[in-house]
């Protein structure tokens, strides 16, 4: 149920979800984790509404780890801080790149439609679309609202439990998220791909699976160095 793509094949994953659900943080962590396994990884910042803000401040840091980052640089454009709703040609053709592709797709339901702009996304057999969810966000804090929300998003292959309260997170809260999101996943007939938890809780949780048996992935916080 959980091994969606065999490890030998290339991994193509799109992270979508509510504004501020943690898509970028999860996408960055996923890219870094895959890179650490020695894989060839491309990370794509597909926030078309605020294309200059998401990964910009950490682009260099990520590039230095060997990840190929496809994101705008402020110096490449002028005056498009907010007005620019545009896609970089390299983003449109990004699925032609070799190796693993991690797509960070901004701005909720409307953002999810961005996949229509990526050449080959519609018939890419490897593409997995995962919804990042945090029960700390009132719009997605219960089974009913999560089910309704995920149904709005079009094609989805799995859910990610990213339940947290920023600096106030507790293991209990993450486990509570696992319960709610696993129940929603059952209703939707989707797998829970993973529960992400801040690395600082590694020894407290001391397990490879969460309370509902979903795999745990440890998360390093990169996005605190960015804004927006």
């Amino acid at each position: 149920m959980f091994g969606v793509v065999p490890v030998s094949e290339r991994i193509v994953e799109a992270y979508i979800g509510e504004y501020a659900s943690g898509k970028s943080e999860i996408a960055v962590n996923r890219a870094v984790d895959l890179k650490k396994e020695g894989r060839c990884v491309t990370l794509v910042d597909l926030d078309l509404v605020e294309p200059f803000y998401t990964l910009r401040p950490i682009k260099r840091q990520l590039t230095e780890t060997g990840i190929y980052v496809v994101a705008w640089e402020t110096s490449e454009t002028m005056g498009l801080g907010e007005a620019g709703s545009l896609i970089k040609p390299e983003m449109r053709w990004v699925l032609r790149r070799p190796g693993d592709i991690i797509l960070d797709i901004g701005y909720g339901v409307e953002g999810a439609k961005v996949l229509n702009l990526i050449e080959g996304a519609a018939d890419n057999k490897n593409l997995q679309v995962f919804v990042v969810l945090n029960i700390g966000r009132p719009m997605t804090d219960n089974v009913k609202d999560i089910v309704e929300y995920v149904k709005e998003l079009g094609i989805v292959h799995g859910l990610i439990n990213n339940s947290h309260l920023g600096d106030d997170t507790s293991v209990d809260f993450v486990q509570q998220g696992a319960k709610v999101i696993t129940e929603a996943a059952l209703v939707l007939g989707l797998p829970v791909i993973a529960t992400y938890i801040d690395r600082k809780f590694e020894f407290e949780i001391n397990s490879k699976i969460d309370i509902k048996g979903n795999p745990i992935r440890l998360l390093d916080r990169y996005m605190t160095n960015t804004f927006w």
């Binding site: 801080g81 009132p138 947290h164 309260l165 920023g166 106030d168």
Partner: protein
């Protein structure tokens, strides 16, 4: 009718704009009027997502002039209405809000400051202080709360509705692009369950007759003679100054024996707090003063601090807009004034620590 938006209280993780939408719901706002402008857009995005679930309404107008005037129209019709804007939108908003001052129409405006002048940046600044406190033609008959974190955005947005309707002065919640977009945890709650009573709205126009007699309502924003206006403004100013002490809020700590007091507001005061705490741990005599209401300004409170301190260090993401309010407030004081002005840019605690140490060094050298 839909159930209450917030039952009891709960710990949540949100962006500041989202917080404002939830706070307006919690405050029982009925309608938002607005025109999109970054960085406040998600206030209306979330309001419009939440509104249908809770029987609330939204009207997108053609610009901020219209957003401001329709908000006032909603209020006159007896609705708990609000709007939100930023930057150049705030500039346009000054025209309807000065009418609100003249006609004493309660109104709530959320401002998420961006860089200025003009379009500048969509990101952040504290450059809308002068405009939000004294914008428009007139005397600045308004209340401005400057928030520093998401909990305050929630608390003060709720409070702003009561302040506006109680005193009938337009009330602003002054945030900024960082607070708008930043994510952090806070507790949201149903204010009434906490014992907060909402000041009831009233229908200003189209009032029901009392004992069969229709009472005329005469709200004016135009006067025929100088004397007529003078009389009205004098009365309004008296009322404003009378209630100001009830409205004024500030925070201070470690000021009792401080040589240098760091004065800052809004999100910058978070950096100032950390800086002051660090410097105290190092044994330096540093204090922290933060006006929460920028209008009316906590003048008496700051005067007391200025009387004891040697230096006030004024720190803001603008070129002296809060400083003007400070200077006006402490007029007559001989305290030295230093500054750290970074218009349109965020300020870190490290920068404040460095600046304080520079001032300390200078004082020792003398």
């Amino acid at each position: 009718m839909a159930e209450k938006p917030i039952q009891g209280e709960k710990r949540v993780f949100m962006t500041g704009n989202e917080v404002v939408a939830w706070a307006a719901l919690a405050a029982k706002a009925e309608i938002m009027y607005g025109y999109p402008i970054t960085p406040q857009n998600e206030i209306m995005h979330y309001w419009t997502r939440l509104a249908p679930k809770f029987g609330k309404r939204f009207l997108q107008t053609e610009d901020e002039l219209s957003a401001g005037f329709t908000t006032l129209g909603g209020v006159l019709a007896g609705r708990k209405a609000f709007t939100a804007t930023a930057g150049p939108g705030n500039t346009l908003m000054q025209e309807p809000m000065s009418m609100a001052e003249m006609m004493r129409i309660p109104s709530v405006v959320i401002i998420q400051q961006r860089g200025g002048p003009s379009t500048a940046t969509v990101i952040y600044s504290q450059q809308e202080v002068t405009m939000t406190t004294y914008g428009g033609n007139g005397e600045g008959l308004r209340v401005v709360y400057s928030t520093a974190n998401h909990q305050e955005l929630f608390d003060y947005t709720i409070k702003a509705f009561n302040t506006a309707w109680k005193y009938r002065f337009p009330t602003f919640v002054l945030g900024d692009g960082y607070q708008a977009k930043m994510r952090e945890s806070l507790t949201i709650y149903d204010p009434e369950e906490k014992g907060l009573e909402f000041v009831p709205t009233e229908t200003f126009l189209g009032k029901a007759p009392v004992n069969g007699v229709k009472q005329p309502v005469h709200l004016r924003n135009t006067y025929n003679t100088e004397e007529e206006l003078y009389e009205v403004i004098t009365r309004y100013m008296e009322e404003y100054l009378k209630v100001a002490p009830e409205i004024i809020e500030h925070r201070e700590f470690s000021c009792e024996d401080a040589d240098i007091v760091v004065v800052s507001h809004g999100v910058v005061s978070r950096a100032a707090k950390v800086a002051v705490q660090e410097l105290r741990e190092e044994g330096l005599k540093i204090g922290y003063f933060r006006p929460v209401t920028l209008r009316p300004f906590p003048a008496e409170e700051l005067k007391k601090v200025a009387a004891r301190a040697k230096t006030l260090l004024l720190v803001e993401s603008a070129f002296g807009q809060m400083a003007k309010l400070v200077k006006d407030a402490i007029f007559g004081s001989t305290v030295a004034l230093e500054n750290l002005f970074k218009p349109g840019v965020g300020i870190t605690s490290e920068e404040i620590v460095v600046r304080v140490k520079e001032i300390e060094k200078g004082a020792l050298a003398k």
